[in-house]
C-alpha cells in the first residue's frame, strides 16, 4: 500500500515535470537563442548553445527608424506608470461607491458595470478613433491613457468591489462616529486596507498596458513614440518576413523581463487577481 502511494506520487511528479518542460521549452529556447550567433539560430534547436554572443542585443537595441530600444523601453515604462495611477484612482473611487455607499440608482449602475465587463471593446473602437482623431490625439498617448482615468477597465472596479465588500465594517463605522467624512474614510481606511487588491490592480494594469498591441498599433504613429510591443512588430515585415532574427529574439527576451520579475516577486497577487475576476488568458 505504502509503496503503491510512493509510486503513484512519483509518477505524478514525473508527468507534471515532463509536461512542464514541454510547456517552458519555447520560452527557454527564445532566451538561449538570443545569445546564439545569428547563423546558428536556424540550425541548432538545442538549449545548450555551441557559441555565445551578445551581438544580437547590440544589433537589436539599435531599434527602428533611428530610434533605439532605450527610447521604446522608456516610453513603455512611462505609459505603464501613468496607466497605473489612472486605474488606481478611478477604479478605487468607483469601487468604494459601489461597495459601501448607499445612493439612488446603485443597483442599476452596478448592473451596467457588470454588463460592460463582458462587452467586446471592438464595438466602441471606430467611434473612439474618430473622436480622439477630432481632438487631435491620434499619435499621442492620450487615447490610451485618458480612458484609464475614467475607470474603463471594469475588471478592476469589479475586483476592488469584491475586496472592499469583504472588509470588516466596524472600523469605518467607528471613524464616522468620530466625525470622519466619507472622503476621509475612503482615504484613511479603505485605501490602506484594500492595498492587496490595489497591488493586484497595479500589477495587471502594468502587464496589460505593457503587452497591449492593438491600441498601440492604432494610435502610435511616430517611431519615437513607439512602445516596446509596437516596436517589436517592426522586426516582422509586412509580408511576415523577419530580417534580423537574432535581434528580434534578443529584444523579445528583454521585453518579457519585467513580467518575469513582477510574477516571481508578486505571485500571490496574481492568484488573487485571477481567481476573483477570471482575468483573461
Amino acid at each position: 500500500m505504502k509503496s503503491g502511494t510512493v509510486l503513484r506520487l512519483s509518477m505524478t511528479h514525473l508527468s507534471i515535470i515532463g509536461l512542464g518542460v514541454l510547456m517552458i521549452y519555447p520560452v527557454a529556447w527564445m532566451i538561449v537563442s538570443s545569445f546564439k550567433p545569428n547563423n546558428m539560430i536556424f540550425s541548432d534547436p538545442g538549449l545548450i548553445p555551441k557559441a555565445l554572443t551578445v551581438e544580437n542585443y547590440i544589433t537589436g537595441w539599435r531599434g527602428y527608424a533611428g530610434t533605439s530600444f532605450g527610447t521604446f523601453f522608456a516610453n513603455s515604462l512611462l505609459m505603464c506608470a501613468v496607466a497605473i495611477i489612472g486605474n488606481l484612482i478611478s477604479c478605487s473611487m468607483a469601487a468604494y461607491a459601489f461597495a459601501r455607499l448607499r445612493f439612488a440608482g446603485r443597483s442599476f449602475w452596478f448592473a451596467i458595470m457588470l454588463i460592460t465587463l463582458m462587452l467586446p471593446a471592438h464595438v466602441t473602437l471606430v467611434p473612439r478613433y474618430i473622436m480622439f482623431n477630432s481632438f487631435g490625439w491620434v499619435g499621442s498617448y492620450a487615447p490610451i491613457l485618458v480612458p484609464k482615468f475614467l475607470a474603463t477597465d471594469a475588471f478592476f472596479v469589479f475586483l476592488l468591489v469584491q475586496f472592499i465588500r469583504s472588509l470588516p465594517k466596524e472600523i469605518e463605522e467607528a471613524a464616522i462616529i468620530d466625525g470622519c467624512s466619507k472622503v476621509g474614510v475612503f482615504l484613511r481606511i479603505i485605501l490602506p486596507l484594500a492595498s492587496p487588491a490595489l497591488v493586484t490592480t497595479a500589477l495587471f494594469t502594468f502587464l496589460w498596458t505593457w503587452d497591449d498591441f492593438f491600441n498601440h498599433l492604432l494610435y502610435l504613429t511616430r517611431p519615437d513614440t513607439f512602445t516596446v510591443s509596437r516596436a517589436l512588430r517592426t522586426f516582422v515585415g509586412d509580408a511576415g518576413a523577419v530580417s534580423n532574427w537574432g535581434g528580434a529574439l534578443a529584444m523579445s527576451t528583454l521585453s518579457v523581463v519585467p513580467a518575469f520579475i513582477l510574477f516571481f516577486s508578486l505571485q500571490k497577487y496574481f492568484v488573487q487577481g485571477i481567481t476573483t475576476t477570471g482575468i483573461k488568458g
Binding site: 529556447w29 527564445m30 473611487m93 468607483a94 455607499l101 471606430v126 475607470a151 496574481f270
Partner: protein, 323 residues
C-alpha cells in the same frame, strides 16, 4: 418640517458624495462606452469613409448585405444611394476561421486546464512551483515577443520541424505557409496558455470537501466514478465561468493572428480572424462604416453564444451535490 428638510438635505448630500466618487466611471461610461456604441450603430448604416467624412451617405442595411450577401448568392448590389457595392468576398472566410478557432481552441484549452489542475490537486511537494511554471506561457503569451517567437518555431526550418525530424518524421510542412496548418499553430498558441483557467480550476477543486471522496471510497466508488459523480458536478459552476470568459476573449483574438500573418490574413486568408478583417477594412481601407457594422455583428454573435451557454447551464451546472 425642519426634521423633513434635514432628511431631504441628508438624502441629497449622501447622493452627492456617492456620485462624486462615481463621477470618473460615469463620465467614462457615457463618453467612452455608451456614446461610441450608439455612434457605431449609426455609422454601421452609412458608407462612412475616414478620409472623406463629409461625403458620408446613409445606405441602410447595405453594410450588412455586404457581409452576408454571399449567403443569398449575391455578388454585388445597388445601395439606396445608387452606388454599386460589391459583396465582401472574405467576410464569410473570416467568420469560419474565427468559429473554427473558438470551437477548437476553447474546449481544448479547458480540458487541458482541468486535466493539469486535477494532476496538481494532490498533496504534492512543490505544487506552488509547478503552478508558477505552468502559468509562464499565459503570463507571456499575449505579448508580441511570443508571437514573434511562434513564427520562428513553426517555420519550415524552425524548432518544431527540427524536433519532429529528430523523431524521424519526414516531409514536414512549413506550418505557417501551408493554409491547412496555419490556423492550427494559432490554436496551439492559445491552448498553450491555459494557465488562468488552470488556476481557477485549482481554486474550485480546493472548495470540494474531502469527506465526499472519503464517503465515496467507503462505498467502493472507483476514481473514475468519483470524478463523474463528485468532481464534475461540483466543479460545474467553475467550468461555466471559465467557459464564458474564454469564449468571449477567443472571439476577439487579434494580436497573435496579426503578427503570424504579417498584418494580413496569412496564406489564402487561412488566419484571417474576424477582428483582423475588421481592422483591415476600417484602418487599411478606411471603410469605417463597414467596420462598425462588423463590430455590431460580432457583439451579437458573442451575445448569442454567451446566452446559449448560460441557458444550457440549467442542464449541466449544479449548485449542490447528491441529486
Amino acid at each position: 418640517m425642519v426634521y423633513q428638510m434635514s432628511r431631504i438635505t441628508a438624502f441629497f448630500r449622501r447622493n452627492a458624495v456617492a456620485y462624486l466618487f462615481l463621477a470618473p466611471w460615469l463620465v467614462g461610461f457615457f463618453a467612452l462606452t455608451l456614446y461610441p456604441m450608439g455612434y457605431s450603430l449609426l455609422l454601421s448604416f452609412t458608407d462612412y469613409d475616414f478620409t472623406a467624412p463629409n461625403s458620408t451617405q446613409w445606405i441602410g442595411f447595405g453594410n450588412y448585405l455586404k457581409m452576408f450577401g454571399s449567403v443569398f448568392g449575391i455578388s454585388e448590389f445597388t445601395a439606396s444611394t445608387g452606388e454599386l457595392i460589391r459583396v465582401d468576398p472574405y467576410y464569410m472566410k473570416s467568420l469560419s476561421v474565427t468559429f473554427t478557432y473558438v470551437f477548437v481552441a476553447v474546449p481544448l484549452k479547458l480540458i487541458f486546464a482541468l486535466a493539469v489542475a486535477l494532476l496538481m490537486n494532490q498533496k504534492l511537494r512543490g505544487v506552488q512551483f509547478y503552478r508558477a511554471a505552468y502559468y509562464i506561457p499565459t503570463l507571456l503569451g499575449g505579448s508580441i515577443a511570443i508571437a514573434v517567437l511562434w513564427r520562428k518555431l513553426f517555420e519550415k526550418d524552425g524548432l518544431i520541424n527540427g524536433a519532429l525530424a529528430a523523431l524521424g518524421f519526414t516531409d514536414l510542412p512549413g506550418w505557417l505557409t501551408n493554409p491547412n496548418y496555419a490556423l492550427l499553430t494559432l490554436i496551439l498558441l492559445s491552448v498553450w496558455q491555459f494557465g488562468s483557467s488552470m488556476i481557477i480550476f485549482l481554486a474550485g477543486l480546493k472548495q470540494i470537501p474531502q469527506e465526499y471522496y472519503e464517503a465515496a471510497s467507503v462505498d467502493g466508488a472507483t476514481r473514475i466514478r468519483q470524478f463523474f459523480a463528485i468532481t464534475l458536478p461540483l466543479l460545474s459552476p467553475v467550468i461555466l465561468f471559465n467557459l464564458v470568459i474564454q469564449l468571449i476573449s477567443a472571439f476577439q483574438a487579434f494580436t497573435q493572428a496579426y503578427i503570424i500573418g504579417g498584418g494580413r490574413g496569412g496564406v489564402l486568408n487561412s488566419t484571417l480572424f474576424y477582428t483582423l478583417h475588421m481592422y483591415i477594412q476600417g484602418w487599411t481601407y478606411h471603410e469605417m462604416g463597414y467596420a462598425s457594422a462588423m463590430a455590431w455583428v460580432l457583439l451579437l454573435i458573442i451575445g448569442v453564444f454567451t446566452a446559449i451557454v448560460f441557458r444550457s447551464s440549467n442542464w449541466w451546472v449544479s449548485y449542490g451535490v447528491g441529486e
